[in-house]
């Protein structure tokens, strides 16, 4: 670990529970790098998660940290941010945690444009419960609960966040760490609801079930299938199958929820 990042980790809580080759550590490291680059005060940051392998990240990080119930990280985080708007609130969540059981909280947090940054660890599978399909598992992929191939259609999470009202939406991968850090920085710095989806790898379940080979091979797939928004514009729908479009999809300033409520307080107290 880089010396300057040590202060963000709870050394006595390491080693972590993640499997060798899991992408979750890369995302967690990138997040700490982004926080460090932004020179934020550690004592002003709260990191919240739901349940899953990815949601274990806060336990290793030396901030105010809250490991909630499955899918509900954003609901708890909304309470924290609304009650104490001065805190920087970051939610880390898995694709299952965020888009299945937590899907309702996710769209409503987007809609409110409350100043919370959500980092989605999208490994396209339920890791913690050993490999069932999630709403982000591609059609045709295999999972323990899709032994004949998944027939569910998956979400495009960036489109979903955008449509639901999130004001900062971006995607990167665990292979493209410098870009990932940059996008995380912008998301954390953004006033309003921001979401960074990270294409991640779970070699233990998604990789094995889909015969994708070693973690290195899976990283190579990410390297080869990632394509920028600009480049994607030139491709047909068919050509885009299997591609991961990365970059910044949406960046807009709009009224933020907790600031709007301050106006409500003024009105209620007889101000104009």
């Amino acid at each position: 670990m880089r010396k300057e990042l040590e202060k963000y980790f709870r050394a006595n809580r390491l080693p972590h529970i993640w499997c060798p080759g899991c992408g979750h550590g890369i995302i967690t490291g990138a997040l700490m790098r982004a926080i460090d680059n932004l020179k934020l005060d550690k004592k002003n940051i709260c990191i919240v998660s739901g349940i899953g392998c990815s949601s274990r990240a806060p336990g290793y990080l030396d901030f105010y940290t809250l490991h909630t119930t499955h899918g509900r990280g954003l609901a708890f985080a909304t309470g924290i941010k609304f009650a104490k708007p001065d805190l920087k609130v970051i939610v880390v969540t898995g694709d299952g945690d965020c888009t299945a059981i937590g899907g309702n909280h996710f769209i409503h947090a987007c809609r409110r444009n409350i100043d919370i940054t959500t980092i989605v660890f999208n490994n396209n599978i339920y890791g913690m419960t050993s490999g069932q399909y999630s709403p982000m598992t591609p059609k045709g992929a295999y999972a323990t609960t899709a032994p004949y191939g998944n027939i569910d259609r998956n979400f495009d999470l960036c489109k979903l966040a955008d449509a639901a009202g999130a004001t900062y939406v971006a995607r990167s991968t665990v292979y493209h760490v410098p870009q990932l850090i940059k996008l995380m920085e912008k998301a954390i710095d953004h006033k309003g609801f921001s979401m960074v989806e990270v294409a991640d790898i779970c070699p233990t379940y998604f990789g094995r079930k889909n015969k994708l080979g070693s973690p290195v091979k899976m990283m190579e797939v990410l390297r080869d299938s990632a394509i920028s928004i600009k480049a994607a514009e030139k491709l047909s729908k068919e050509e885009l199958v299997g591609k991961i479009i990365t970059g910044e999809f949406h960046n807009e300033i709009a009224p933020e929820y907790t600031e709007e409520y301050e106006k409500t307080i003024e009105k209620a107290q007889g101000g104009c």
Binding site: R10, R13, K42, K43, N44, C46, V48, I51, P58, G59, D62, F63, Y64, T65, L66, H67, T68, T69, R72, A75, F76, A77, T78, G79, I80, K81, F82, A83, K84, D86, L87, N104, H105, H108, Y261, T264, I265, K267, A268, Q269
Partner: protein, 380 residues
Amino acid sequence: MSKAKLMQGNEACVEGAIAAGMRFFAGYPITPSTEIAELSAENLPKVGGKFIQMEDEIASMGAVIGASLTGLKAMTATSGPGFSLKQENIGFASLNEVPCVVVNVQRGGPSTGLPTLPAQGEVMQARWGTHGDHPIIVISPSSVKETYEFAIRAFNLSEKYRVPCILLMDEVIAHMRERVELPDPSEIEIVNRKKPDASIEKYNPCEDYDGDGIPPMASFGDGIPFHVTGLIHDKTGFPSTKPEVTQNLIDRLMGKIENNLEDIIDYEEVLTEDAETVIVTFGSVARSALRAINLLREEGIKVGMIRLKTIWPFPEKVIQETSQRAKNIIVPEMNYGQLIDVVKAAADSKCNIVGLNKYVGELITPEEVMAKVKEVINRA
């Protein structure tokens, strides 16, 4: 100075909560609790507090816990279907000792049931609705005035013991209007959670520093980073699967209630001294029981009442003592028979224990209570 006000039970609940220091409410509308959300929306910002209507009851409970972790006194209110949805997160609050008040205005169930009509079907769910062994406090008012007082008491108990407190109301109390004498704010006893010593070197969020089973509680934003998890954890707040850690934690959590029964348990005894027949009841039904007792006494029938104000922890001792004196105990409740099982478990086996159950969305009337008392006496 005190002031008198004509109000509804749900309104008294909000007035009491704000007087107790509530500064955060998250909820989702549901009859017959909705006025609590509406009045919180109106009145909280006036005192600089926050109201948010969440996307559902699960989210409301989560937001309440989040807000309480930052140090605000937080409440949510709901009814049957919403109370079911809140359960998982109520368990999170109980395990993590996050003070919060959950109002459940009972209506007819199961399922969507009888949305506008009264019931008392959540005696057991209020205690055991969330999974696993856990501590919880449940108190139940019988009047509008008591709803005001119990809203304050709910916050005080919750803050003092760091336990979620359920304010178990019913539709009758929620929508009834009564004149309430509101005390002067300076006369209201307010309890706040204890905070860690500012000079503390290394804060363990779950350490029993004072030996009373209640760890001091820091808030997110106070300057001391700490971890909160729904996993079983040791005194540092971090997960552990060691049997002795689990044992210590669960024993300490349960001990917060078990070692403070006298402080938490509250009930009213009406004419029980010479009573051969004692009615054990709570909530709106206690009003019918009281009327019945007065009429029966005029006929010379020796009947009295124990009105439970605290339902959980269950006031076993008074039931046991009473059952040794009285011939009969009658338990009227607006459900198929829930409280009666706990009464039976606590009572002397020689005492005749009889239920009076009504689960059709109507309050048990004084006449029905009187008829039951006479039936029981004549049968003996």
